[in-house]
């Protein structure tokens, strides 16, 4: 094993003893017990493992540990906690935006990255931003409604 590697996740500094080529996903889940970031495909195609790295949405299955050194990593646990939900998480609860929920955190993280850059995206901009996040249960429209709720753009009435 090589020397421990410094990693900053959700504002906390960690020292990780692992092969520097290990995908960040496994470090987050197995070393830091941050299970909200989920394995979906290992190829950066489904978005279930999305995290923020220096504010950018990145597939953590597809980025090696060595490439994360010196960067700010934020996972869903760093976005909000059960006692202190982020507005997006609150909106997901309010809109009951989940079926199985396995993809939801990748979508939340992607939505946060989008809103941080553009606080008032159009519906088609939201959909485009989420096109690399797959959902198999068909919860897409609920996710969109929840995100629109946060940006105050919900045109209203349709979800009565």
């Amino acid at each position: 094993m090589t020397d421990p590697i410094g990693l900053r996740v959700n504002g906390v500094d960690y020292s990780i003893a692992a092969d520097p080529n290990t995908p960040l996903l496994y470090i987050l889940r197995n070393d830091l017990q941050l299970f909200g970031t989920r394995f979906g495909c290992g190829l950066g195609l489904c978005g279930a493992c999305s995290v923020l790295i220096n504010g950018q949405k990145i597939h953590s299955c597809d980025v090696p540990l060595w490439d994360c050194v010196g960067k700010e990593i934020v996972t869903i646990e760093g976005i909000g906690t059960p006692d202190n939900l982020h507005a997006l998480q609150q909106a997901f609860v309010d809109e009951q935006a989940a079926q199985c929920g396995y993809c939801a955190n990748g979508i939340l993280v992607t939505a946060k990255a989008l809103l941080d850059k553009n606080p008032t995206p159009s519906e088609s901009e939201i959909r485009e931003a989420l096109d690399r996040n797959l959902c198999r249960c068909g919860t897409h429209n609920r996710f969109i409604r929840a995100i629109q709720k946060v940006i105050g753009m919900n045109e209203g009435g349709k979800n009565a």
Binding site: D19, T22, F39, C41, L45, G101, N105, R142
Partner: protein, 658 residues
Amino acid sequence: MAAEELDVAYSRIDVLPVDTTISPNEASTSGSRSIQEGGESMRYACAEIRHLFLEVAAVKFNLPISALQVRDGLIYSNNSQSEISYWDILDEVNLDVVASGRASPKSPLKYELVGYSLPRKDILKKITGAAFLHDITLPGMLHGRIARPPSFHATLISFEDTEILAMPGIKKVIRDGSFIGVVAEREEQAIKAMLAIQRHCKWSESALLPDVNDIEQFLYAQKSEDEILKDVIADSSGPDPVITSTFTRPYLAHASIGPSCALAWWHDGCLEVWSHSQSIYALRDELAKILRLDCEQVIVRHAEGAGCYGHNGADDVALDAALLALELAGAPVRVQWMREDEFAWEPFGPAMAVKLCGSVDSSGQITQWHEEIWGNRHIGRPGRQSKPGLLAAWHTGNGMEAPLPVDMPIAMGGGSQRNAIPYYEFPNCKVLNHAIQSMPIRTSALRALGAYINIFAIESFMDELASLAQLDPIEFRLRHLKDERAIAVLKTVSAQADWKPDFKSDGTRGYGVAFARYKNVGNYAAVIAEVSIEENIKVKNVFAAIDCGLVINPDGVRNQIEGGIVQATSWTLKEQLQFDRTRITSRNWEEYPILTFSEVPNVEIELINHLDEPPLGVGEGVTGPVAAAIANAVSNAMGVRIRHLPMTQENIILAMDG
């Protein structure tokens, strides 16, 4: 349903996972039966539990049970000052009794919770951290992966494990016949070793798969078990012209977003397994059979997985984990399939063909209906076949031939023949099933089973006959329906979508309708799809009117239906398992694309609630009508009838040429 019958606040109800040491064996969580069967059992059991508490309170208060009421677990009477709670008398009530049905559930007119949208309790956990089986960590847990063969019937010629054992963190390499597993301290080490094993192995493979471009002819050429599902002959009413159409669907993947996962732990002569199986008891029995253990030595505990939509790799990965755990006594072993495993090895929804011949008379009534279906039977779940069907059992030892899937009898929901019999009234109607007796591609239950293609075929053909009769498709369907609830959903969806019988397309936009009653005894679904013809077919709007009897949780019902509509739209427009003559070649999301956010239609749902009817499941019922409504809308827009799924550019061009 439980809170309602117990008369306690919803907040007091916890939903716990099932477990073979403590839970009743309710067979499998499948067939959209949780509310209508599991829920009904719960309703009666909870009514009886409430009654048992009232019996004790009645003695204490010296009042008849009929004088007692309950509010959030507090038992009181309007005739007395006395009150006592469930919790006060818990020790005096014997709950260890057989449910006898001694108490009747509430009248629906008294419902205070049922019929209202109550929020789910699992969402908060899921969107803030650990929530799934995949997230369980046990002390000393090791990570396993399976180096699967490159194709279904490949056999291992040679494999040398010396180099693998020298890799960092490797605890053990397990080889049994053509089954190779590896266990490591860390997950990424197990993955790296698995990839190295796959590079080191030499396999013998055979080209045994059908031609992906001609599955229809493959289905017809197979030996089949034939059965007559319906054969009604009234008077033959004249030589009306007969039209014939054939419809097909490809093999479809469940394609769960979270690859299958299990934990197994062999300790103290007991195999403890955590699984997201839909049928934990059958899985336990099958594990015991394959591993030559007593059933009492195997415990299966359910933990939530990602959505599965039927029988996927959940059960198989449990055997994988068990095989590894048995070789590492005392250490829990976690196995998660890779995406490539999930795509290549899950049991797929079978390819099918449906051939329809029919005629209408001059008054617009269908006079002849002749239908034949071809395909594998649909149920390969643990415990349903003559011998164990879990995947690793194919490869361990000398290997075994995979058992063929089975169908349930039609009265119990069927399989390939689900919804093969039209719900309409026809004077002459014959329906035949040809259940093929070979399975070159592993198949099992996918959401709605045969209903998806059978309804797609029947409802597409209804439009073809309506066109022959020069009648509006809704009007034409209504002429062949007697059931008032069926008629009601069609009329409701027509109003919802502002259906215009005389709509003439300009070639870019079209509307289509379809109807079905799921399993012919379940929920009623009428669907209208609006499509626009762009580079690809785009589904803009889907309207659905659903009658599922008594609505328990309206938002839950809507969520299920929305999901069914979107998933069926994805199947219909895009999905098709790819393979060459030897290997499955759909191994990731690029090779098996599904609907994306930009492609998802707007969905509008109307629920028709019946307080006096039993609740019916809704997860699957809408899938067939969605496919047919899209096909009918495309025909309306372009004048082209697409009978072969999915509706890719290639299949559209073939339909235009045909």
